[in-house]
């Protein structure tokens, strides 16, 4: 896609959860997002709380300061946008909080799977009608994409009897089930595919492999098998 084609199409909105932002920025790939934003006509958007968590708090800690500066620069340059939490979002978050708390029980005890941070990201997607959610975290992704697997997944890890509240699950799925999800590995793969990867590092298969493993080791929920399978398709 050339620049003119890209400008003619409506800008697509990708909401970034803090997990993806951490994986990408930790590995110095944040400029890849700048190139992707330009080439693919994407707006990357984060909720206000993710900005606070990723920039304002770590900027005061020497160990995390550099990464905080990278993200702050991205926001100042405008290829990552910060969205304030609106009253409507807050209402949605409260509803989500109740619904997700009602989702799962183990031996009659309700298990709180999600936190306010993830709820805010989901609320933002709905609020701005975003096209895609980038999330490296596993549990939220499973709830959205494969809620039928939540019970067997939890059952393998808990001795007690795990059950799911069908009504709460149906309500959650009706609202959030259709969200399209990518992880930082797919953003890296996209940048390799469209050539923007080469603006940061030589566009070689070895560099792609290294980049995919780097975000895995930074906490992206992707398996060795998945990366191996993908690399075999890429060839080279």
């Amino acid at each position: 896609m050339n620049e003119n084609e890209s400008a003619a199409k409506p800008r697509k909105k990708i909401v970034l959860d803090s997990s993806s932002l951490i994986s990408i920025s930790d590995n110095c790939f944040i400029k890849v997002m700048k190139h992707l934003a330009q080439k693919e006509n994407i707006s990357f958007i984060i909720p206000e709380s993710v900005y606070m968590e990723s920039v304002q708090t770590p900027a005061r800690i020497k160990r995390f300061e550099l990464n905080a500066i990278r993200i702050r620069d991205a926001v100042e340059e405008g290829y990552i946008k910060v969205m304030k939490t609106t009253p409507a979002m807050r209402q949605r978050m409260e509803r989500l909080e109740r619904e997700t708390f009602d989702l799962c029980e183990c031996d009659g005890e309700k298990v709180r799977l999600l936190h306010l941070g993830e709820s805010e990201t989901l609320a933002l997607i709905k609020e701005i009608n975003a096209d895609v959610l980038a999330i490296d975290e596993r549990t939220t992704r499973m709830l959205i994409e494969e809620p039928q697997n939540i019970v067997p997944f939890l059952q393998r890890r808990h001795e007690g009897r795990v059950s799911i509240n069908r009504a709460a699950l149906d309500s959650f799925r009706a609202e959030y089930g259709g969200i399209k999800i990518v992880r930082s590995v797919e953003l890296i793969a996209l940048s390799y595919d469209d050539g923007t990867f080469g603006e940061e590092i030589h566009r070689t298969r070895q560099a792609l492999e290294a980049a995919l493993y780097a975000v895995k080791f930074a906490g992206c929920a992707v398996s060795f098998n998945e990366i191996g399978n993908y690399l075999r398709k890429v060839g080279g």
Partner: protein, 184 residues
């Protein structure tokens, strides 16, 4: 009074005083599971203490230090006080005693560590990663244990947790879906 928590704390104190490091590790694992199910930050804290004490007992330079008898006694006393507070339904006293035990763990860590420090911080990350493996989201696991969210994510990235439950859609399919959204 939470009888189960009292029993767990008593077991923890017993294992610590008997220098049974592996028992402490096992206890910590059992307690974090309860903390996950009950969304109970106090239980999570007890689990982190158990794990931190396991790490301390595993290191000779701690337990062979001249300061060890006094410090280990003060940790035991703080934990005993937390049990007594629980038995009196004194929640504030319970929290204060646990915090006192944590302060002593952090003290011994800063005084006697050779190189690697922050045993308590690392114990939080370890127990939070167990909570994540049990199904909590990253933020919820971090919030329950007080672990730093970023450190937790990095630690989980270094484990095999994400290899145990592969995502339904692989990279190729997700990339195809993403291109469809972006390019129509």
């Amino acid at each position: 009074m939470d009888h189960r928590l009292v029993k767990r704390l008593e077991a923890l104190i017993g294992a610590f005083e008997a220098r049974q490091a592996q028992d402490l590790k096992r206890l910590g694992g059992g307690i974090i599971e309860q903390a996950v199910l009950k969304n109970d930050e106090s239980l999570a804290k007890v689990s982190v203490i158990a794990y931190a004490l396991y790490k301390i007992l595993s290191k000779d330079h701690f337990v062979q230090s001249g300061q060890w008898p006094k410090i280990s006694q003060s940790i035991s006393q703080s934990l005993l006080k937390s049990v007594q507070a629980l038995e009196k339904n004194d929640n504030a006293g319970f929290a204060k005693s646990l915090d006192s035990a944590i302060e002593r763990i952090q003290f011994i860590d800063s005084e006697l560590s050779n190189f690697a420090k922050d045993i308590y911080g690392k114990a939080k990350i370890k127990q939070a990663s167990t909570a994540y493996a049990m199904g909590l989201s990253l933020s919820q696991a971090g919030s329950l244990t007080g672990a730093d969210r970023k450190e937790l994510q990095r630690y989980i990235g270094s484990t095999r947790i994400h290899d145990e439950q592969p995502a339904g859609l692989g990279i190729e399919q997700r990339l195809r879906n993403l291109k469809e959204v972006l390019r129509g």
